[in-house]
Symmetry: C2
Subunit: 330 residues, 2 copies
């Protein structure tokens, strides 16, 4: 099957069958697609590249991979409070394998349909497996959630759970062993993360800053602190409860010391939850946004004027720890 | 050098030093960039992925590669008549090699600066060398040049020269031998193509359809014919003159039969010229657009109601030929 037939069958035809998107003036099939942002809106743009062997295992379920490739991009829109509009897909494939392409495109387009996010076009070529998605959303002028808006005194929140994706990764690599049920649950978090799009949009005008947790909470929160020129204190006794697996099976499993759990939570990565800050005066509004978007939100600490990221125990005493963020070239 | 330092040094710092672009509300450094299209404009979007060994040789000059990676995307904007605004860059690199990154980023950003096209952000990861650029331009509503607008009776034009890039490729592969001067000239066409952005913008309201020639004229013109539901006749005696090398050294070189030359012109690929159609009533306007954009334009044939693509000689007699378009998976 040639390149053009393949694109037609697995991407163009299903994309045409999707719910119409009023912001798409011209979809797949020309030199460019044409997007018409709503008047008064700014376009939020993000791009992510996923490489086999680095971001996913060669034998990963292609349906999940299609989901995740778009999810990590939607997560960036969520972190800005933007509403998804559309995306482009560039795909390098070792060969035109329909047994892979069919489920990959289904996983990708199912999540796209859920967010009415139109596939605008892209590129297909032969090469080592590489998935590059660029996503477009819109957000009212001056309302985008940025990394630079945190102020001393603001509360720090995270959505959902943290650390489960990394736990699954360690289990797949054989570094830890998990009961089947826990492994399955953690693997869902690793392979099909939920982008917090609805929460991000609900936090417009409420959150003072936001970021999505892709490289680990400490590292990503560090970006907020750096760009806002502030510091933070995190309550480890609250944070440690953010890992879902801990509630299932901590006590019977000696692999999971508290320190190890905290490491999963604070520097696990691949979580695609939102970390955000909001003034204390917005606590009710944050809870209302969490409820409205059906997304659990936990308050884990506070922004301070003094630079640096400090971890404390439930009595407020410092906890010594060193949690590195993921860096692809270190 | 870590991922973040590397991005800072070769992409963020030079991007910040570029001429300000009024359409960029927020550049590199957050979860998303924010783009503010001019009121009343549509956003033209295109994405291209370049893979080592397929789109370029491993030993290609990195400065040229940086240029070409953006040029092929700007060429898509040109084909729509869109004005470049900005782009994202996703880059997979085997290692953080500064001797490669420094010239690559210089070549990329030099062309970006020439078009005031802002680097908005993107992604960097480790992996087999892969360059994915998504480019954004703007074009007034209803004025984008599309593939679907050609009408029977329209003239067919191409800009610049065709076939030289493929000639250079054949020379590099050792399939043909060229005098040094001709090889150098052809290699410039292969490695640093000139996107016809100014011409594309000048053709708004004049051209009835357009496409950029990336996979060979016959194949790409075929997309216009298919989407416009028309046919075309091309004068081979005019087309054959489109290859620049022919004017240098045809007669003394027996490798270059007329048939071979025509093959370079009609199915060479990698030309990044514009093929477009316009009503005969617009001949003066087309020449004026060519002059204003300082881009040579040649009229090579005519659109017809009868489907199919026919090649004729200078007497109007059919020329038998079969020129395939490049298909990455066939």
């Amino acid at each position: 099957m040639g390149e053009f037939n393949l694109i037609e069958r697995y991407f163009k035809a299903p994309a045409r069958a999707m719910r119409p998107n009023d912001n798409v003036a011209l979809g797949i099939g020309d030199d460019c697609a044409l997007l018409q942002p709503t008047a008064g809106m700014q376009l939020a743009i993000s791009s992510d590249m996923l490489v086999e062997g680095r971001h996913f295992f060669p034998d990963v379920d292609p349906f999940s991979l299609g989901h995740k490739a778009l999810a990590v991009n939607l997560s960036d829109l969520a972190a800005c409070g933007a509403k998804p509009l559309a995306f482009t897909l560039a795909l390098a494939l070792p060969k035109a394998d329909e047994a892979w392409l069919a489920p990959f495109s289904r996983g990708l387009l199912a999540l796209a349909a859920e967010h009415n996010c139109a596939l605008l076009g892209g590129d297909t070529t032969q090469g080592p497996l590489n998935i590059c998605i660029t996503v477009f959303g819109e957000v009212p002028k001056q309302q985008a959630l940025l990394r630079s808006g945190a102020k001393a005194g603001d509360d720090i929140y995270v959505s959902g759970t943290l650390g489960d994706a990394r736990l699954a990764l360690d289990a797949i690599r054989g570094n830890v062993s998990l009961p089947a049920e826990a492994f399955t649950a953690a693997k869902v978090r690793l392979e099909t993360p939920t982008p917090r799009v609805t929460l991000g949009m609900a936090l417009r005008g409420i959150a003072s800053s936001a970021i999505d947790v892709s490289d680990g909470l400490f590292g990503d929160l560090g970006h907020i602190l750096k760009q806002s020129q502030v510091g933070a204190v995190i309550d480890s006794s609250v944070a440690i409860n953010l890992i879902a697996y801990q509630t299932i099976n901590t006590k019977t499993n000696s692999q999971f010391t508290l320190q190890k759990q905290l490491q999963y939570v604070l520097s696990g990565g691949d979580d695609y939850e939102l970390a955000f800050t909001a003034p204390a005066s917005q606590r009710n509004a944050v809870q209302a946004a969490a409820l409205a978007s059906n997304t659990p939100v936990t308050r884990i600490g506070q922004i301070e004027a003094a630079l640096g990221l400090r971890l404390i125990d439930h009595q407020g005493k410092p906890v010594n720890s060193s949690f590195e963020s993921w860096d692809h070239f270190q």
